[in-house]
């Protein structure tokens, strides 16, 4: 049988925040065309993990391989969708200019965006259904529309991995469904990794789940146990059941 291609690999990775361990002995791999949800409480090391994948932070110990390279070198092939948009809502920039920014890693310093850059940015906007808003100022859009634009920006770099930080935060359930639909579509071409503290944001579309709270517990498809979740969150927790209709069962307290 053909072995699945690893796109991200962590081997015995340790990272510290000040002197506190943020990640302890992380070992796992993300495979090509995975749709992986990493969940864990705030302060559980999610941001640190993301920064390591993006090569913005070096782990204290251990080895990280992204697309067969050092994370820094793998970065141009990662499309990143940041968590909250901390941008100034009043900033004078339109949807088109935001989307083009995603091409930077291929365009480089000083150079102007080429015809190809513009073509790819256009395609990305089409794919997320935001082309008709291209001239709108970004702050005028709704939260869900802004999210779509930031996904288009990440897509425009033709990524092999799409990395989303808390993609469903401050987005209503209907839009969440739409965004998951888009991501499922993109999964045919790339690996999707999303990170969230909110377990309800991990939907039926996600194939694999990893729980992160300093240590990481990796699950195969469609399975997650109460013990694991409680170990991660240190509190009683809702159970997620995967199926055609998502439903949650509240576990009784002892």
């Amino acid at each position: 049988m053909l072995k699945e291609k690893e796109v991200v690999k962590f081997e015995n990775v340790w990272a510290y925040y000040n002197s506190h361990p943020a990640l302890q002995d992380i070992n796992f791999a993300i495979y090509d065309r995975d749709f992986l949800g990493i969940i864990g409480p705030n302060g559980g090391g999610k941001t640190t993990l993301l920064k390591i994948i993006l090569g913005l932070l070096k782990p204290r110990h251990g080895k990280v391989i992204v697309l067969g390279k050092e994370p820094r070198e793998g970065r141009p092939q990662i499309g990143y969708v940041p968590q909250k948009s901390f941008f100034d809502k009043n900033f004078p920039i339109n949807v088109w200019q935001v989307t083009l920014m995603g091409r930077y890693s291929h365009t480089g310093l000083f150079r102007r965006y080429s015809m190809e850059d513009k073509k790819l940015a256009e395609q990305s906007l089409e794919r997320v259904g935001m082309m008709e808003y291209r001239d709108r100022q970004i702050g005028e859009l709704s939260g869900g529309q802004q999210k779509r634009v930031f996904i288009a920006r990440a897509l425009s770099s033709n990524p092999k991995i799409l990395l989303l930080d808390e993609p469903m935060e401050s987005v209503d359930p209907k839009v969440q469904g739409e965004i998951y639909g888009l991501l499922k579509e993109f999964q045919k071409e790339m690996t999707i990794v999303l990170v969230s503290h909110d377990i309800t944001a991990i939907s039926i579309y996600v194939d694999k789940i990893a729980c992160l709270n300093q240590t990481l517990v990796y699950h195969g498809p469609k399975e997650i146990s109460v013990e694991v979740l409680e170990g991660t969150y240190q509190c009683p927790i809702n159970l997620i059941a995967h199926g055609t209709i998502p439903h949650r069962v509240l576990k009784e307290h002892d």
Binding site: L54, L56, R75, P76, Y80, P82, S85, F86, F87, D88, N90, F91, P92, I93, N94, Q97, V98, L100, M101, G102, Y104, S105, T107, L109, F110, R112, Y113, Q137, R153, S157
Partner: protein
């Protein structure tokens, strides 16, 4: 009254106002959009150290200010990013340090320090030809860098975190932007002086933002507003015999306040709850 255009000093003053408006109109858009008004004010005030140094060692105070404003821009940029102190604390400390150094240099300088007041509050009617040339050169440098780094400046102004992720050398680009602000301040010294410069870096750009969402159009409008403000202020100060720098600022503020409140008034009368 149009004979005033015939005076050489008036021609120089208008040329200086025009050139200064180009620099501050464009750079002001970044100052306003990236919300770095306070750091810009800090750089401007800290450059007083260079004016003092110029007097003390006998070089041109404008040259001294150029060196000092660049040094203070880089120091502020680096220390606000790399220390754990809050950004406004760092700016406040460096702001006062530059001014204190300037005061010490001036007190060490023997004799009477002429024209000190004009560096603080501007005196556009006394721009020598040599300084016009310096302003022109700085304008060209500022314009060239903005053209070259337009997409980078836009990206870091909008979303610095994302810019870092996509591999942009954001800290270096930010420092270059601060250096352009420093050079703009030097250009503005004659026009409004280092204390009032922050008004011309913010008012034209902020007014331009009222009329457009596009950064390039904002720059064009901001330059035009800046020209209107400086020229109007210049003529008023000449006619009324008032300090030129201060008159330019007060003129800008009055026009700015009038436009903002008129627009506010117009939009509120358009509300559906009108009673006829």
């Amino acid at each position: 009254m149009f004979d005033i255009f015939g005076y050489h000093f008036m021609q120089n003053a208008m040329l200086a106002a025009l050139l200064a408006s180009i620099a501050c109109g464009i750079i002001g858009v970044y100052v306003v959009s990236k919300r770095i008004v306070f750091i810009s004010g800090g750089i401007a005030h800290a450059s007083f150290g260079g004016i003092g140094l110029g007097y003390f060692i006998g070089i041109s105070p404008v040259l001294g200010a150029t060196i000092f404003s660049i040094i203070s821009a880089i120091t502020m940029g680096v220390s606000t990013r790399r220390t754990r102190l809050p950004e406004d604390t760092v700016i406040g400390i460096l702001w006062a340090t530059g001014m204190a150094l300037g005061a010490i240099f001036i007190s060490l300088t023997p004799g009477y320090t002429t024209n000190l007041f004009s560096y603080l509050f501007g005196n556009i009617l006394t721009v020598p030809d040599s300084e016009l040339l310096l302003i022109l050169i700085l304008d060209v440098v500022i314009l060239a860098v903005v053209v070259l780094l337009y997409k980078e400046f836009l990206a870091i102004s909008f979303d610095e975190e994302y810019s870092t992720v996509i591999g942009m050398p954001t800290e270096k680009i930010y420092l270059i932007l601060l250096c352009l602000i420093a050079l703009t301040i030097v250009v503005m010294i004659r026009v409004v002086g280092i204390i009032l410069v922050i008004a011309l870096l913010t008012i034209p750009a902020s007014l331009a933002r009222q009329f457009t969402n596009d950064m390039k159009k904002m720059m064009v409008l901001s330059v035009i507003f800046s020209i209107i403000f400086t020229f109007t202020g210049l003529f008023l100060s000449y006619i009324l015999d008032l300090a030129s720098g201060a008159t330019i600022i007060i003129t800008s503020v009055i026009i700015f306040a009038t436009v903002i409140s008129t627009r506010k008034l117009l939009s509120s009368t358009r509300l559906p709850s009108q009673k006829m």
